[in-house]
Symmetry: C2
Subunit: 335 residues, 2 copies
Amino acid sequence: MKKLAMGIDIGGTNTAFGLVDEDGTIFCESAISTERYKKFDDYQDYVDALCEAMHALIGSVSFDFELIGIGIGAPNANYHTGMIETPANLWKFRDDEPNPDESRRMFHFVDDIKKSFPGVSVAITNDANAAAIGEGVFGSAKGMKDYVVITLGTGLGSGIVSNGEMIYGHDGFAGEYGHIAVDSRTHGRDCGCGRKGCLEAYASATGIKRTAFELMAKMSCDSELRDIPYSKFEAVMLSTAAKKGDAIAKEAFRFTGEVLGKALADLMATTSPEAIILFGGLAKAGELIFEPTKWYMEENMLATFKNKVKLLPSGIEGKNAAILGASALIWQRNI
Amino acid sequence: MKKLAMGIDIGGTNTAFGLVDEDGTIFCESAISTERYKKFDDYQDYVDALCEAMHALIGSVSFDFELIGIGIGAPNANYHTGMIETPANLWKFRDDEPNPDESRRMFHFVDDIKKSFPGVSVAITNDANAAAIGEGVFGSAKGMKDYVVITLGTGLGSGIVSNGEMIYGHDGFAGEYGHIAVDSRTHGRDCGCGRKGCLEAYASATGIKRTAFELMAKMSCDSELRDIPYSKFEAVMLSTAAKKGDAIAKEAFRFTGEVLGKALADLMATTSPEAIILFGGLAKAGELIFEPTKWYMEENMLATFKNKVKLLPSGIEGKNAAILGASALIWQRNI
């Protein structure tokens, strides 16, 4: 009988899910709103709505198949405990909550899904780890035992695989490479984590936008970018401008590549992967970001590691990459 | 029959080796000079002398035992290939070498030892990795699956264990955490690797000595340390002075702890170990180095990781730690 795994991607706006076979083909997919259930008290309703929608999707498949498991990619997910722990944008207390105790925001997500799918294996990890497993099972890291996936979206996430296994760390939260210091912890850019100077405040879609605004202040050249206010500015505008030769946009990519390349040189010294895969919105800028990143990475690398690592684009990127990655959590155990 | 593993520690001056049982008891040990064989052409003589001395040590044991393997800790050793690759201080070309081609300085050490011990399993790794495996098998990391050992000697070495396995990386050289950037690559301190700003130029026995000399220039307080020239200065003098209340020595430990603690906070974000073990000469300063390192590590940690990791002293430290660590390379496969 055909075997399929369910992959679920929990985003801040929507939760997408789909049934995936061992070749990475998505047979069918669907989504529910996450946003509609974003308050603490909505959690159980969210789980019920998601399970109902998954059962409906399963019922819609016209052939017999075996559901071999459900893999979930979610922010602040802990692989070891199966929980989503104090997520920044999900199931938050209402502003008028009388006792906003963060320690109550520990959601037994895997257990709660299992109640609706008895006997089915369920696993969860964070989005960047899911992307990394997806690259290993279906994408650019197929067959590799030591590789790293860096997701360059709103923030910078990372999934580190060594000896053929995801590094979850003792507490389940390893791979927060976006939060290493690349600038002063007292004078660097504010980071969403409450500190300053973190890598993701520089190397991410948000980071390059911030760099562009610094450069508008620093450089005096003409630029169409000067007509766009910060609140309307999107990182993709920098790709378009850079391709037209805009000096600010080009310098923003160079600087971002410098910061990211230096950080990746240090990561080489730590786990020495065979490949580093850049994934996510900013990575889609292609050579604009790959070329300076690779140059600064090699330039700043310990001699032992020079010219060894491959800097690769994602092999699964597309609108369904997150579903593929989540399903790969199940497939990695079954292939 | 009793089982014993041979542990070999190849240092720049001497090569020490001993027979170790599964509890970490060293039954007998011996050493030969490494220094005497330091030129390129001396390599085969060195291997012959070492094998002869090992056979003599084995012959000296008064009871029957099975030699289950030979584990080796050596600089620039590659676990994957069994080679010692272009070591900085071993088997170097003579100054008048007509064709000093570094690519010829690749020594098939494991294979060469096997010739003299047919049928015996032989494994090699670098000194810091051997120390890390030693802590896992016999020392402070017993029973842990995710931990890091930082060796604070002349340089800074690291051995990173995740999911119960040493991270060797794709090329066999992972764990060079002493060479991440903690200061400017253009203005930081010179590092032995030829670059500037590496962690080990600050956090190591040599690094704290350099810091003390910077502080003598910067601070105007009296200090007995001002009577000692750089060439005669040893890091251990700073422990003695700090215990007597010397302001320069105390500040040197605080600053070293700051640099090391911040670097360890970033390492937590990368592999999130259960424990970080400080090993080697500088770690013997005890609270003088542990206290500021722990404080700055926690202070600079992403909230997720705060108050989770144990900062521990070595559990095998002593004159035989390196032999124990090397033998653990064999015992980890046999316990």
